[in-house]
Symmetry: C2
Subunit: 127 residues, 2 copies
Amino acid sequence: MVLGQDAEGCCPTLLSAPMSEEQAVDLAKVFKALGDPVRLRLLSIIASRAGGEICVCDLTPAFDLSQPTISHHLKLLKQAGLIASERRGTWVYYRPLTETTDKLAAVLTGPGSVVAAASAEPAGAAS
Amino acid sequence: MVLGQDAEGCCPTLLSAPMSEEQAVDLAKVFKALGDPVRLRLLSIIASRAGGEICVCDLTPAFDLSQPTISHHLKLLKQAGLIASERRGTWVYYRPLTETTDKLAAVLTGPGSVVAAASAEPAGAAS
């Protein structure tokens, strides 16, 4: 997925140059996936899990929603490239795809932004 | 708007700790505003404008959409705190609110992220 990056995949273009229609369509899909409180909370729980992954059986109790509804939201997060899943035995396990959130953060970081730089850990600290 | 920040308004919580329902509702509204290709392109054009603002009369020719449709999308971006507008004479002028995109970038920057830090300009370079 291009996610609004240039050909070298390095430079944010949302705030520094007019975005092409094609780039906007790709990027909008990911932001749309984040545009729901349940999906944001699911991503938040998955991303902050100490072990790097979480069983779907530990996700559902956090919500007052049916299993199919939770599964639907997880599917949308997965289609957007925000999480990955793996079935092991009875359960499905989810882990965050931080390269996607990293790219979104870069796309939202303007030429003069200081917040993202200030809040990020020192370079080299891999997640 | 809280935008998923903690009480001191400094620390991203989307990826480092489970987000509260209230925080998720606020944050989802802003991501939802970005979850549309036309709105992303509008924001991109407004944010990358050299003079810091753009007349609505210069925005509409970039789209094959009616003026009321463009106005509707601009209203949603404004409600999300992503742009501000000012009427001067006949026309309305729009400018980006970079503090909102900066906050979103911080929210999406995980404890181990390096992309946003690498892509941001040196601290102190105000937009």
